[in-house]
């Protein structure tokens, strides 16, 4: 009996000696650090909305959603439609490159390649993802555009086609790796079932694996569009700053991101309408990518097949 109380007393004593305060204080410190990311999001939303609000006090909605964009003229107009047009066209070109190449590359890596080949090819593919976008921009401007000019003589030095194609190469690893992950997670038993019925690899891939992995594949496409829309340096360098509303991809056109970069590195004094227009365009860009990301999350959650 005596011994028991002794042990208890020792434990109690030890506990009292231990720095209980640090143990109690640390979670609070961690929570504060964890809240930084939340504060960042709030900060982004807040700055975009307040400054865009100031913009809309000066410029009516009808002017913002028009095709007339001339921010530096004596009578400035801030129509965003040319920018949205440029953004969507370059992104569509990028998707036209990235979707077929990415999906087939993913099918190869996931279904056809041997382990040995995959171990060599996959890291090389990931190298493409590690190249900074400014390097792609330089490549598009100094190599792809002159190359395309030989095929299309009417191509301008700055155009939407070349950055679109290069952007497709840039988002290719994203499509490939996400689609491959989706295909890899299809259970082997389903493939074996199809093989047992005498299917070839191609038939197994097209009729079993892809239908089963379709949610992940679609989500990877949506994420890739979102990445292309938010991409800045490639389009800024290679697509130029023409503010015309045109569907001709051989011409120069500006994207939303390109507008933001051009205008801040130019002479946008704080407090001018031009300065606030950055935030209005930024808000549109933010909403575009946010909606696309929510769609991607919805697709992969809603249409996921559980095996």
């Amino acid at each position: 009996m005596e011994q028991k109380t002794n042990v208890r007393a020792i434990i109690k004593n030890n506990f009292a000696k231990k720095k209980r305060t640090t143990d109690k204080a640390m979670p609070i410190f961690f929570l504060v650090c964890a809240s930084v990311s939340v504060i960042t999001t709030i900060g982004i939303v807040l700055t975009l909305f307040t400054d865009a609000y100031k913009f809309f006090q000066k410029v009516p909605f009808s002017d913002f959603f028009s095709t007339n964009l001339a921010p530096l003229s004596p009578e400035p107009h801030f129509g965003i439609l040319p920018l949205i047009n440029g953004t969507l066209l370059t992104s569509l070109i990028a998707m036209a490159v990235a979707v077929p190449l990415g999906l087939t590359a993913a099918m190869y890596l996931s279904e056809f390649a041997s382990d040995k080949v995959r171990r060599v090819l996959k890291p090389m593919m990931e190298l493409l993802a590690g190249v900074p976008t400014i390097v792609y921009g330089f490549f598009a401007y100094s190599f792809v555009t002159p190359l395309l000019m030989k095929i299309i003589p009417t191509l301008e030095a700055k155009n939407a086609l070349s950055p679109g194609i290069v952007m497709g190469i840039m988002i290719l690893p994203l499509v490939t790796s996400l689609s491959e992950d989706a295909m890899k997670s299809v259970p082997e038993a389903m493939r074996e079932g199809a093989y047992g019925l005498g299917s070839t690899k191609l038939e197994v891939t097209l009729k079993v694996v892809i239908p089963a992995a379709i949610s992940g594949i679609m989500a990877s496409f949506v994420l890739a569009i979102s990445r292309a829309i938010g991409e800045t340096m490639i389009v800024t360098i290679a697509s130029g700053s023409s503010k015309n509303f045109t569907f001709d991809i051989t011409q120069s056109m500006q994207t939303m991101t390109g507008y933001i970069v051009e205008f801040t590195s130019g002479d946008a004094g704080s407090g001018t309408t031009g300065y606030y227009s950055l935030y209005a365009v930024g808000l549109m860009l933010f909403l575009f990518t946010l909606v696309l990301n929510l769609i991607a999350q919805y697709i992969s959650k809603k249409f996921r097949e559980e095996y």
Binding site: D23, S37, T41, T104, A105, G130, L202, F286
Partner: protein, 307 residues
Amino acid sequence: MMNYEIELTSKEADKAYKIDINKKRIDHRILLNNIAKKAFFSSMIFALIVLGLLLYRIGVQSIGWIDLQFLTGKLSISPEKAGIFGAIIGTVGLICVVIPVTLVIGVSTAIYLEEYATQGKISGFIKVNLSNLASVPSVIFGLLGLSLFGRFFNLGSSILAGGLTLSLLVLPIVVVSSQEAIKAVPGFLREASNGMGADKWTTIKKVVLPVALPGILTGAILAISRAIGETAPLVVLGIPTLIMRVPKSFMDDFTTLPIQIYYWTLDTVLTPEYANLAAATIVVLLVTLFLMNSVAIFIRNKYQRGF
């Protein structure tokens, strides 16, 4: 039904006919399979050829331009004398801000999510928020930095402002990789530590973090290599085009390697030699990134312990 009818008319002929049809069909299917395999492989190879072309072009253009004078020289208008010493110092300064900020906040967030609030509304919210933050375009972070650090805290376009902006940008990468590293620490280590009477913070400090350190470092290096290659947010912060001085403190204006590439690429219209300077800077940037990634892979392979 069909088979039965044919069988009635001529048993022998039918047999031969059926085998013939099947053989043809099977040959056809196998042929398709092989063609598809080659096509898929070639789309995989196409991406790698583009990567090779990109590296080759940049390598050729930079030949003869990278020397000691280029690495240690100051910025100059004449291409022969121009050097990137200022950009290198600017990049190093940027890293010196990004590393401590992201490591402290990122690892703390990961510890909070994995050790203290594994489930529940707050951690769920932070996780959703982080994944959304990771997909916000980098230009938007530039706008946040411009109004928060540049204007509100009046840091202008200093190294500190740029570093803090990039820290927020790469924060999700550090958090996610640290989370993975902490998750990989087996539960029995924690239990053993708790069984010895250690409180939670002591367990984290003495057991969890040391074991998770290689994974955390790998993630941090990857995050920093992302920050080094980032251009758009810094351009949006309003970094001046030409900085002849080398930055001396964290409050000075600065330029980094990608920004130098950007401005030289823009000015190739005026001075064609700037393309060579841009290519040479790209080589320096890519070599830096390659070395950093190699270190990350080395750390992961050497120090990651399996349990």
